[in-house]
Homo-oligomer: 327 residues x 2
Amino acid sequence: MTLEQYLANTLPGVTDIKDVSRAFAPSNIALCKYWGKRQEEFNLPVNSSLSISLGNLGTETSLECSNTDILILNGEELDSSDPFSTRLFNYIDLFRPPSIKLKIETSNTIPTAAGLASSASGFAAVIKALSDLFSWDLSDQRLSEYARIGSGSACRSIYHGFVLWEKGEKHDGSDSFAHLINNSWTDLRLAILDVCSDKKAISSRDAMNRTASSSPYFTQWSDIAQSDLALLLNAIEEKDLHLLMKTAESNAMAMHASMMAAQPTILYFLAESVEMMHKVWACRSSGLSVYFTMDAGPNLKLLYHKDDEAEVLKQFPDAISVNPFVT
Amino acid sequence: MTLEQYLANTLPGVTDIKDVSRAFAPSNIALCKYWGKRQEEFNLPVNSSLSISLGNLGTETSLECSNTDILILNGEELDSSDPFSTRLFNYIDLFRPPSIKLKIETSNTIPTAAGLASSASGFAAVIKALSDLFSWDLSDQRLSEYARIGSGSACRSIYHGFVLWEKGEKHDGSDSFAHLINNSWTDLRLAILDVCSDKKAISSRDAMNRTASSSPYFTQWSDIAQSDLALLLNAIEEKDLHLLMKTAESNAMAMHASMMAAQPTILYFLAESVEMMHKVWACRSSGLSVYFTMDAGPNLKLLYHKDDEAEVLKQFPDAISVNPFVT
């Protein structure tokens, strides 16, 4: 089945169109990473993953019926040939009747300096806004499934709190969506260490594809992810913050290690990333319980107990702290 | 069989002792790394490895019969409780009659700034000097086998040129020794980029043991090494320098990746190591054919064609160039 056929079978009809709609979706940071697709068209993952959403940091999107397609990103109109514009409208084309044109205003509430990827929250916000615009009233599960088609990790940005994306088994992705595990554990804090906000030398999509196709370590990755996921779920259940943070750091290192063995090698670490890693480890040696995770990019995200926030921010004065449970 | 029993069966008797002996052994840099032991006491490796010796950079050792054990390293007498002294005399005890005491003078001809490990050349030089002192006239194969007992990679430092250490299969290590592949290919040059000469946070011995026992990627390592070794032997046979350098870099990245997934993680990269890696890759993007390899430490070793030496040293002014075929 093609993606178009699957959507034709599952999408509600468009009978009641609002003039305008608005939605917000949070960014999310994976504690057990999504790394590697088992199917490209539907964005189906090799492994299940687990994330924490970033509270009120994310993407706010409004849609308005219009005579022509317009995309305004963070207050600036993008040219229709802009790659992000092309990607977003190609995605929207899957869901809208061809006659409907849209003015989209989308803004990230994440400080630009945080250097966080916005595609997860961006696609989650736009599918929520589309569902509202067409009065579909889709379930969160369905929103998550559709968001996944735009960008894999977007399926996790439908929710606040701890979110589990079940990889699923089916070819059409109908069992590959995210759901909430636990929406609050207020001891946990995050801080974003921006190392570099430049465009990445290789996109995370290309990096995961190259890793899956050429890294001899990739065959082990799904076992690692499965085992780390079990540890993380146990840590959330038992409120064992140390286990949660330790497992998240280890999972990130294993993901980056899988890339390093790709042909050719992929190294998102920059000098400053490595300097910050050694600093995190030095802090831990001195008794400060701080860990990090790292996506397919050079920035570190620190993990720590809320009681350690003052000390963490003293050690990392440029870190941007986030309370994931304030929404 | 214990190591002592094995040596009792294979060592010649000591009947003719010279007053003094002297030997030199070169350092070596692995293009396919030795990483992981299948047996600790005999230093038997999981995988075969291949190195290039560093010409006249290595260790010069002289032995002299004495009333008491004395160790002079680079002109300075070491205390008998020094860990290096203990390790070296424990090794020598395996080979000498208990009545024989030695004054050992050992000096590294490698600039200290190069930050190169000297245990490989050190143990190779001392077994050569012992063989001479006791008039054993051991074959290179036997010297290599005995050197391996002191430090795994020392078995490769018995030779100049390209050296293959066959991992062997036997429990007593009698088929685990190095031999020469090809002692000259004068197109190849190396340069050592010293990032940090501080003592390593974790010894390579402990790092390989931790990787072997806890990294989920280690199961793949021996396959990678076997496949890289075949590529390297082919590159030497075909005089394909690009394939040689590319494979060496990829093998080093795979080794470091295997460590990163150990529990807890092991990262020898320092900020400056990563800066230099990105610089190497930027040079390659600009058309300069330079590659690197990296042992269990933060320093990079550059690999390039002799015709590119001027440009490489212009790009890396602090690099210490080595002609591996000048002896």
